[in-house]
């Protein structure tokens, strides 16, 4: 044990043996936290915004840019609240985005391609990793969830579409289709006419990857950034409330059943 280790143990008033127990507990918590963040982020995203993430041709300038950051910042904010307020760790948002990305790639490979034979190039997932890192960065610098909601929320919403453009750009390469110039996205649209996309809310245009681009992208990104601020705030508070270490008193009868001691005077 180094002098530094000994000084830390002395400051913590811990013996080396107890420090070893404590460290083991830390390791176990890391594994539980990773499973928890991974699973809750994935099920949350899957059923609020999953469709836009499943398919490349659903990645439109209208709803994909708007909905994906709003939904993904919710779990990022809740986990930031848990990690920051309980353990002073500024990693909640990044852990949420990173573990989700790992999980989603495993499913895209094993289920989408492996079971249903979708080519991976048609089911590429999006990522909010850059925005999530910015959220953690702002939180650790400001130490304020309000500042993180205002500035981090805006950055999260605005950064989503530019940072995902990297893998979308190849779908706009020119390609020849029946003697005419089209994009790869156009050809995907010709081959897969999406009768199943939600027409009931698409009034102006039927959003697909084919129409992705132009200033409308930024309109959606700014709207998303605006909503992200509020989504962040609500879910930060939800994370704080969910982790309040409250106990409800157990009645005497059940206390006795559980094996706890009952004070004679209390009966």
């Amino acid at each position: 044990m180094t002098d530094n280790d000994q000084a830390i143990l002395a400051a913590a008033e811990m013996s080396p043996r107890i420090a070893r127990y404590s460290r083991t507990f830390d390791y176990l918590i890391v594994v539980i936290a990773a499973f928890l963040v991974w699973s809750v982020t994935h099920i949350h995203f899957l059923l609020f915004a999953g469709d836009w993430d499943f398919f490349i041709d659903w990645k439109d300038r209208q709803y994909w840019i708007l909905i994906t950051p709003i939904v993904s910042i919710m779990s990022a904010a809740a986990f930031q609240a848990i990690f920051w307020t309980l353990f002073r760790l500024p990693i909640g948002a990044t852990a949420s985005a990173l573990l989700f990305l790992i999980g989603v790639w495993i499913v895209r490979y094993h289920a989408w391609e492996g079971m249903a034979y979708f080519p991976l190039s048609l089911v590429v997932p999006a990522t909010g990793l850059v925005g999530a890192m910015a959220l953690d960065f702002i939180l650790v610098l400001s130490r304020s969830w309000v500042i993180t909601a205002v500035f981090g929320g805006v950055i999260y919403g605005l950064s989503f579409f530019p940072t995902n453009w990297i893998y979308l750009a190849p779908y706009f390469q020119p390609a020849e289709h029946m003697g005419e110039m089209a994009s790869v996205a156009d050809i995907i649209g010709y081959v897969f006419p999406r009768s199943g996309t939600p027409e009931y809310i698409r009034i102006i245009e039927r959003g697909t990857l084919r129409t992705f681009g132009d200033s409308a992208n930024w309109v959606s990104a700014f709207f998303s950034a605006f909503v992200c601020m509020f989504a962040y705030s609500v879910f930060w508070l939800m994370g704080v409330v969910a982790c309040t270490p409250k106990y409800i008193p157990v009645g005497y009868r059940f206390k006795e059943l559980y094996g706890a001691k009952i004070d004679a005077g209390a009966l």
Binding site: T24, I32, F35, L86, K246, Y247, Y258, G259
Partner: protein
């Protein structure tokens, strides 16, 4: 990693010669769970599209309904046996346990959480989204599809069993949890557990409203809302950490006094 910690042996007290935490049962349980999940996935790969497209076919009855009829009683049967064991072997002298025993039980509770979160991960991530691959490819004809028979009727019961076992273990073996119901623990166990009854609403909606599977449709929002209660596991870990910090000091103090 120091996976297994040895308590300092005390000749007069055999209780303290036990390991503080033994991760071998956790590793074995993870192995069993992993074998079940991988086995189910391979079964899907072999028979989902081959015999699972028409619920009226005899092949469907042979390959899928049989699996359904076997897995549901088997999983819940094992679950009830575990719950009964935890209840019947509960400690009826919780006020008399010493600090090391209590600490050991906190580590055991953490081991239960390792199993619970591991099993929840498979439904919330892997098989949950795999269900989307089925629905985006095939229109459902009944509530029993090759995807549902795995995700809803095998994976969900498995994590419910482990979650309720964690709750039972805590309330019957750890003084703090026996004197007061831990709100975050109840949330973290009952919330995800309610995903199973929420299936009733989901299947009713699909039977009478829409057969198409838009995953982000409001009909499905019950699942993630109940999934949010998983956040509360952070509160349980905080409760455990707070008490364990006290126990660490207590054990250190007792050792110092002896020295």
């Amino acid at each position: 990693m120091h996976a297994i910690l040895e308590s300092e042996p005390r000749a007069a007290d055999p209780q303290h010669t036990k390991k503080l935490i033994n991760l071998v049962p956790v590793a074995i349980s993870w192995g069993v769970l992993l074998a079940i999940y991988v086995g189910l996935r391979l079964y899907q790969q072999a028979f989902a599209f081959k015999y699972g497209l028409d619920s009226t076919s005899p092949e469907f009855a042979t390959y899928w309904l049989t699996l359904f009829k076997v897995e549901v009683p088997l999983i819940f049967g094992v679950g009830f046996a575990i719950w009964a064991y935890l209840w019947l072997t509960r400690d009826k002298n919780l006020d008399k346990i010493d600090a090391e025993t209590e600490l050991r039980r906190y580590f055991s509770l953490v081991a239960w959480f390792l199993l619970y979160t591991f099993s929840f991960l498979w439904i919330a991530s892997f098989f949950g989204e795999s269900d989307a691959t089925w629905h985006q490819t095939v229109i459902r004809d009944t509530a029993l599809t090759p995807s549902h028979i795995v995700v809803f009727y095998a994976c969900i019961p498995l994590y419910i069993i482990l979650g309720v076992s964690s709750l039972l273990y805590a309330t019957t073996r750890i003084p703090k949890f026996s004197k007061g119901y831990s709100v975050p623990l109840i949330m973290a166990v009952l919330g995800p557990g309610l995903i199973l009854p929420n299936l009733g609403y989901n299947e009713w909606g699909h039977a009478f409203w829409l057969t198409e599977e838009i995953f982000s449709h409001p009909l499905h929002w019950g699942f993630p809302v109940l999934g949010w209660t998983g956040f509360a596991l952070g509160g349980v870990l905080l409760q455990a950490t707070m008490r364990m910090a006290e126990l660490f000091k207590e054990i250190d103090g007792a050792n110092l006094a002896k020295a």
